[in-house]
């Protein structure tokens, strides 16, 4: 049963990532915005980032999806360390309702 659920969820996730146009409606009309980022005034990582956007929206999207959770985890762990250092118990809470 557990394997079956894993397969269903895995295939559903794969289908969504392989066919993002399925969710086109979520964008409020589904029309793509074709913009070429102006890299002339940019330097360093900003210029690289804008160039990546111009070269491939797909790679840009994949990198964004990889970066967001990574950055989230890093910031989350840092905030955890700070709060634990202050002395707040971050592992339990009292049950205040059923």
């Amino acid at each position: 049963m557990h394997k079956l659920w894993s397969k269903i969820i895995g295939f559903a996730a794969l289908a969504l990532f392989l066919t993002p146009q399925l969710a086109a409606a979520a964008g409020g009309g589904g029309a793509s915005i074709v913009i070429v980022a102006d890299t002339r005034g940019l330097t360093g990582i900003m210029a690289w980032w804008a160039s990546l956007y111009n070269e491939s929206h797909l790679y840009f999207a994949l990198l964004t999806v990889a970066l967001i959770p990574t950055i989230g985890v890093v910031f989350g762990v840092v905030a955890d360390l700070v709060m634990s250092h202050i002395g707040i118990d971050l592992k339990s809470r009292e049950l205040s309702e059923h």
């Binding site: 993002p20 409606a25 009309g29 999806v65 959770p69 709060m83």
Partner: protein, 350 residues
């Protein structure tokens, strides 16, 4: 003061970056506390900072995914996330969302539907606000009755108990949701998630505002578990949304990361605050947030009816939303601070 502005590489505009951090902190606190993404709060804030609207929704969703991940991690450690429930609901949410979104596109081709959608949203928000405050009033009434009868007041009592009726539906397969403490038909969470996903798709929102009360009142989750599980859902749908919006060129990752710096702090504060504020405190604050959201929509509708005063209504709506974000986040922060102080003092006393 040029250093306070940063060039957005894709949108090509200069943005006041401390404003993004402050906005991130505010919506991070509220999101971590209530278990919602809070797009209705972020969009006016980004608008004020001069962010192009074409990028506002995608950027908001991208930062929301990261913020919800942080909150889910924290809620998970508190035992507030029912992962089994979250995964079951994910199927219904995705299918329901797509059905709703495709339906609204079909309706748009038939004619102008945005006014109808706004009215529908308003009715739904009014219903949620009524439900929350009716629940609070019922709980207080029960407590008064118990006192009058000389019985001890049960601290775990709840006001509205519609979930007990839904739990009587015994269509197989039946499931145990251990973290939420629920035994029900598997079709109940699937149906609830499909319905909330469908509404979110039609209304063009993330859905936390609808899903959180549904988890409490229809499924019968304790408030803290509803918040944590909803954030788990927001995290996954946020990642999916970030992928599709970025693919369509509607995300400014630099802005999302800057907001995430603030939101990571805010999300921790909001999540830890749920330790110190009782379930009904969360429900009351949530009800107030829903009223604020409804008022902002009324002002947007009025702006449509009175075009000569459009600027006035739009500005009032923005001030209202940002005022609500500020006051709620300050309230939650102070409560968290107070609770943490007492906890640390108690530890030192021991």
């Amino acid at each position: 003061m040029d250093w306070l502005y940063i060039m957005m590489p894709i949108a090509g505009v200069k943005i006041f970056w401390p404003g993004l951090i402050i906005l991130g902190i505010g919506v991070g606190i509220i999101g971590g506390f209530f278990g919602m993404g809070g797009a209705w709060m972020v969009t006016p804030g980004l608008n004020i900072l001069g962010f192009p609207m074409a990028f506002a929704i995608g950027t908001d969703i991208a930062h929301m995914a990261g913020k919800s991940l942080i909150s889910t991690m924290r809620h998970g450690k508190f035992g507030n996330v029912d992962y089994k429930l979250g995964l079951i609901m994910l199927i219904g949410t995705v299918v329901g969302f797509e059905v709703g979104a495709q339906m609204i596109m079909w309706l748009e081709r038939l004619g102008r539907v945005d006014i109808v959608v706004r009215y529908m949203y308003l009715v739904l928000l009014a219903f949620i606000a009524w439900m929350v405050f009716h629940d609070v009033a019922r709980k207080r009434q029960k407590e008064r009755e118990a006192k009058a009868a000389g019985k001890p007041v049960d601290a775990l009592t709840t006001g509205i108990e519609w979930h007990k009726t839904f739990h009587k539906i015994h269509i197989p397969p039946m499931i145990h949701l251990n973290v939420a403490g629920i035994y029900c038909s598997a079709w109940l969470p699937i149906f609830v998630s499909f319905l909330t996903g469908w509404l979110a798709g039609i209304l063009g929102i993330g859905g936390g505002l609808i899903r959180m009360p549904s988890l409490i009142y229809i499924l019968g989750c304790p408030t803290h578990v509803a918040v944590g599980t909803d954030l788990f859902e927001v995290m996954i749908s946020g990642l999916y949304g970030a992928a599709t919006y970025t693919f369509k060129g509607r995300t400014e990752l630099v802005a999302a990361i800057i907001m995430l710096v603030g939101a990571s702090i805010g999300a921790q504060i909001g999540t830890v605050a749920t330790k110190y504020i009782k379930g009904y405190g969360i429900r009351i604050a949530f009800g107030l947030a829903v009223i604020g959201c409804a008022l902002s929509i009324i002002l947007k509708l009025l702006a449509g009816y009175f075009p000569t005063h459009k600027a006035l209504f739009d500005n009032t709506s923005t001030v209202l939303v940002l005022g609500l974000v500020t006051s709620l986040s300050v309230y939650i922060f102070l409560k968290m601070l107070d609770g943490a102080k007492k906890e640390i003092a108690a530890k030192k006393g021991v």
